[in-house]
Subunit: 336 residues, 2 copies
DNA sequence: CTGTTAGCGCGTTCAA
DNA sequence: TTGAACGCGCTAACAG
């Protein structure tokens, strides 16, 4: 028994104030079932005068239906994820669903903890990043009856629905595009590839395409940090010290590529002609640069939108899993 | 009565499997109360074999204590707020609290809806942005027994605790600093001041300081959008068309200021000597520019940290409200 | 150290 | 169109 804090106003209090039963109030508030206009008005009146605040917790417990959505992202520092989050939020805005956010720092063990914690809130769906998870995470998500949406990657076997692109293909497309542009001496700058698994896949696709087409493997600088502007800046400085005669550098993400652009601006390197810079993601920040960044658009906005549409109309788990490939496209900027 | 989906595993199932009572399982899982090592082990074993997932909803309902934290931000596009969110997240990480995010688009009516929805989840605390809210929002927050933390602004009367800085003072400090640097012909570029109330306060402080010290009022360009890099870029182009002989332009935020810097780079305007650029926030992105941005650091990280510390040890509402001024400091960059 | 009992506040089912 | 009773899954209080 809980010390019934008599300050808390419940459905019952509203019901008494309106002279109806609790369930009637409940029906008015959820706009479910037939209610006469007269009682509806009286109830809403009573809600106002009592200052009643709905308790969804109890509602969810009783109905076994929640409108929380778990959103699990690797990071909020990398510019991509705030954009993804913004996209999800927009799509969610009208729906009455509330996002609960968890951040994993690209750590699959942390992801496991966050997923467990999310599930304990009985969300209507879980949106998480990538297709690789710990064994336990996978088990938990497979065993749950709610929808599980894996975003940003379409290069593998999903638990339920995956929405994204093949990062391996994006990597090869980058190589192909830059070879066609005439570049031959490649550099690569990226984050810790053990942690950022999608960067890892792009990197693989990129390297393989080069070697398969008789181009020398790229000179590489791999930071131990995750993606950041300053990381890209320092990375390029370092790479050019090691190997000054590169003619193009591919960055694992726009964040890092922007850092590369800054380095060129600061040191007077001519973008595109003297040194090509190529990113990944197609962030607004890259396109707002003095010279718009050459990069790959990952259609994040659509990914967020489709992710939400996937469960918004049907919260029940489908029998077969599905991959939705939202593809990617090359942005012909002015830096490569 | 709900159709009891017999697939859901409850405390009771675990209890049966372990041959103990439900409350014992509960105690083990919450590490509360004295439990013998033997039963603890047996219970944890049973949890594993049954694949039990804790249901916090029911727990919160029974104990009237939740560990959700409502975080309400105006936007996720403006670079500041992802950083604030990241700060809050870091501080929250160890604590077992989970953030629920709401976005208001700088709209006080949307804020009201979001607050109402947040409260219905019985969070342990609510963190929201700024000190200005609709009458209803204020009423709801005043009537709730949970902690309400208003961040980013210290220039007014808080509901419970406010953590931030005086934006008016930051505005005057900007003016003072730039006057001391020798600038005299001021421009100002900002977003819709009706929506971004903190930008509004800074702008006021800035203008008043100038006129009080006999400097001509700034030439202004006010966008109807909220803060963005491209907005700053276009704003500066437009402002210089109107008034080419400015010697310094103050931007309402780093985002917009970065756009201004880009315009200068693209058109060959010498930063600092030919035209000063000054921002607000001290974002990492501004400091990573080829020439670090001159701006004001708003100590967002500390704000997030203090916000969390405020409620983490004591969730009960204090009797008196309090303002914690985290201050600000000028970043002597290379753009003004 | 462990169990019993009695709700937390709401929504579902079924009856009126 | 409205209401009564029951229970969702868990935990506080008290007893043993």
């Amino acid at each position: 028994m809980t010390k019934r804090d008599d300050a808390t106003i419940t459905l019952k209090d509203v019901a008494e104030a309106a002279g109806v039963s609790g369930i009637t109030v409940s029906r008015v508030l959820r706009a479910s079932g037939p209610i006469s206009e007269a009682t509806r008005k009286r109830v809403l009146e009573a809600v106002k005068t009592t200052g009643y605040v709905h308790n969804r917790l109890a509602g969810v417990l009783a109905s076994a239906r929640s409108n929380l959505v778990g959103v699990i992202l690797p990071s909020l520092s990398n510019g991509v994820f705030p954009e993804v989050m913004a996209g999800i939020n927009e799509a969610l805005a009208q729906s009455g669903f509330q996002p609960v956010v968890g951040v994993t720092d690209y750590d699959l063990m942390k992801e496991e903890t966050v997923v467990r914690s999310m599930l304990s809130w009985k969300p209507a769906a879980i949106i998480l990043t990538g297709l690789q998870h710990s064994r336990n995470t996978r088990r938990m998500l497979e065993d749950t009856p709610i929808r599980v949406i894996e975003i940003m990657d379409a290069g593998g076997r999903p638990i339920d629905v995956a929405i994204g692109l093949s990062h391996r293909d994006a990597g090869s497309a980058t190589a192909q595009h830059l070879i066609e542009k005439g570049y031959r001496r490649f550099g690569y700058i990226g984050p810790d590839l053990e942690r950022d698994l999608r960067a890892h896949d792009r990197h693989e696709g990129f390297r393989h395409y080069l070697t398969r087409h008789g181009i020398a493997a790229p000179v590489e600088y791999l930071s131990r940090e995750t993606s950041s502007i300053s990381g890209g800046k320092e990375g390029l400085a370092e790479l050019l010290r090691m190997k000054p005669d590169l003619d193009v550098v591919v960055f694992s993400s726009d964040d890092m590529a922007i850092g590369g652009v800054y380095h060129c601006i600061a040191t007077g390197i001519q973008l595109k002609t003297q040194l090509g810079i190529f990113g990944f993601n197609g962030l607004d920040t890259g396109q707002s640069l003095p010279q718009p960044l050459s990069t790959i658009r990952s259609n994040r906005h659509r990914i967020g939108q489709i992710a939400v549409e996937t469960f918004i109309n049907d919260v029940t788990r489908p029998l077969t899993s599905k991959v939705i490939d939202t593809g990617f496209s090359i942005i012909h900027g002015e830096t490569a």
